[in-house]
Symmetry: none
Subunit: 410 residues, 2 copies
Amino acid sequence: MKTEIISIGDEILIGQTVNTNATWMGQELAKIGIKNNRTTTISDSESEILEALKLGESRSDLILITGGLGPTKDDITKKVLCDYFNTELELNQEVLTDIQAYFKLRNKPFLESNNLQAMLPKACTVLRNHVGTASGMWFERNGKVFVSMPGVPYEMKHLMETGVFPKVKEQFGINELAHRTVLTHGLGESFLAEIIEDWENRVRAEGLDMAYLPSPGLVKLRITNTEGNQQIVDKYCEELYPLIPEYIFGEGIITMQETLANLLKERNATISLAESCTGGFASHLLTAIPGSSSFYEGSIICYSYDIKEKELNVPKDLLLKKGAVSEEVVEILSEEIRKKYNTNYSIAISGIAGPTGGTDDKPVGTVWISARSKNKVVSKKFSFGNNRERNISQSALASFNLLRKLILEE
Amino acid sequence: MKTEIISIGDEILIGQTVNTNATWMGQELAKIGIKNNRTTTISDSESEILEALKLGESRSDLILITGGLGPTKDDITKKVLCDYFNTELELNQEVLTDIQAYFKLRNKPFLESNNLQAMLPKACTVLRNHVGTASGMWFERNGKVFVSMPGVPYEMKHLMETGVFPKVKEQFGINELAHRTVLTHGLGESFLAEIIEDWENRVRAEGLDMAYLPSPGLVKLRITNTEGNQQIVDKYCEELYPLIPEYIFGEGIITMQETLANLLKERNATISLAESCTGGFASHLLTAIPGSSSFYEGSIICYSYDIKEKELNVPKDLLLKKGAVSEEVVEILSEEIRKKYNTNYSIAISGIAGPTGGTDDKPVGTVWISARSKNKVVSKKFSFGNNRERNISQSALASFNLLRKLILEE
């Protein structure tokens, strides 16, 4: 089965938008065993879209199209699809009701142009969009499937998950793959590969697929059997655990912060944070989890010396002598925030995110993290690198992992 | 002049790597007035590469190719290019010297396979790579130019900047494009379109390109003249401002938080935040800006009632009577945090991010925001929607915009 993606939009071609849609779709397709063979990005131009549809039909079985479905004049995908499939637009009453409800919920006036979003090609199966106004459109011709979706990432993802994947699995008789994804933190890809080399060779010799999926701070190890043999996948996963026990924090699609949140919830425990260099990002990751108020109380973002001193009782002479990025300071911060906000656990993070502020002694990327319960504290120094964004995100993940281990050891 | 990009690599197709190369190339091409008409991503497969080269030659004048130039077996681009251009590899002594020096400088052992990197097609002009081992290759045939570059982003950028752009400008006698991108916040695409409909019609009648580029909370309006007439672009941009003065916050590639940060820096002013439903995300956006310590002091993330009450002096009976999501509460929060952290300005955000916690009175997506200076306060209620992630991000952007306007009005 051949699959391709057509991304429509000048904003991608001229680099104002990164084509993360194609990345996500490629990943998700791979998870159900479908390889994306090609991604083509083209203009919102009638002739370009028509040509891409023709080429797509000539070489692929499944053509996934994103973009060009907005209500404005430069969005022409729907019109071109009508021409291509020799069909015309008709009012879809259910979609119109959805759209009116969508605007009502948001207290926004309903404009005439929004009606156009309910005009859909007769020849397609409509995939309802509950998070926006542009419907998905599923066309079939000679066994080939075309799906058109909006380019807004969360709308596209919603449509893929609720409409496209279920229909694709049915239509193309997709075998369920047997797979597990083991999540590791704290070791780079090449170091990990060295430790598990023998195991990996045996996994591959068995005919299983094995992939390293790195993202900042994490490496996911995905083991797949395309014939659906879950037992063999389980066997090798179980052999993997004792090889790298201290680096595995979970499996599947759970994040590090969700792992920590689950530990806290299981214990009816609460957490507070004192963040310096991460500037709120660690708290954000925890509070992005729905229902976080059951375990998260609050944080102080103590960016300045003043706030560290006045709000969290770090002695000024200690700040001057040891610097804000020091074991002594993060241990005071974690202790003070835990007491002040009256929580079971706390985290404190202080580091040099960069690009400036580094010294010979403490170069950019140096971060001290302290994790604490009532009776125990663990503090650790990290050296991440010279990219500000990565230093912030890796510090947050490392802090969660430090507290996760502390909780498990208690 | 027609231009296209061919990106070679399975890792992009299956979503392990985001195609940021194409994004960067599209941006940089646009800056010198060349529009990228198409980006095609394909496998490291001989037939796919040959087909893409043929199609590229048939429709484009400039074909920029990245990827597949490494020293390993799955890198076949160079071989396929030799076939396509009917040429063969020969040892390039200067490149070999470069590569040997490259390894010596980095104290890395020189492997036999690295010699292969100095074997280059006879028919091409070699573009020397001083930051890696894969050379750029410039081919010409019937006035059409093909350039092959490695996929490692900093190597590709180095080759584009030092080799490709100078030769392209010369070869194609490039005109600069005229364009401006006006950034708006607070109105959806269709509402904006309705207000500026007449203006948009005139822009298009004039032959200018005009595009809406939406992202959560923002809509960018890009106006372009492909013949480089900046005056005509400026004329229409100036006519746009009075039509939507309250929605425009900047131009170009600046973000809302950078706009606010610049206003603060210009005034030597500082900011603090009291965040409830945004859980640290607004502070994160501000502290993600390098050098943020010059204007950002700190925040309290007052997620629980307790912290609102004990740390920010919100009376318990007010919380019980009006609820945490109320004008009264956010006004106390913005006042208390500003005084406590001794800053010129402050922001307070309290809302119902969802998915739970909504009531008939205050459905999910209801957010109160207060922005404050020493002498002035503005508070506003927003109704965003039912997506937690978007409610968090839109609340942060809306809070920055509220404070931005307050500062400008002072």
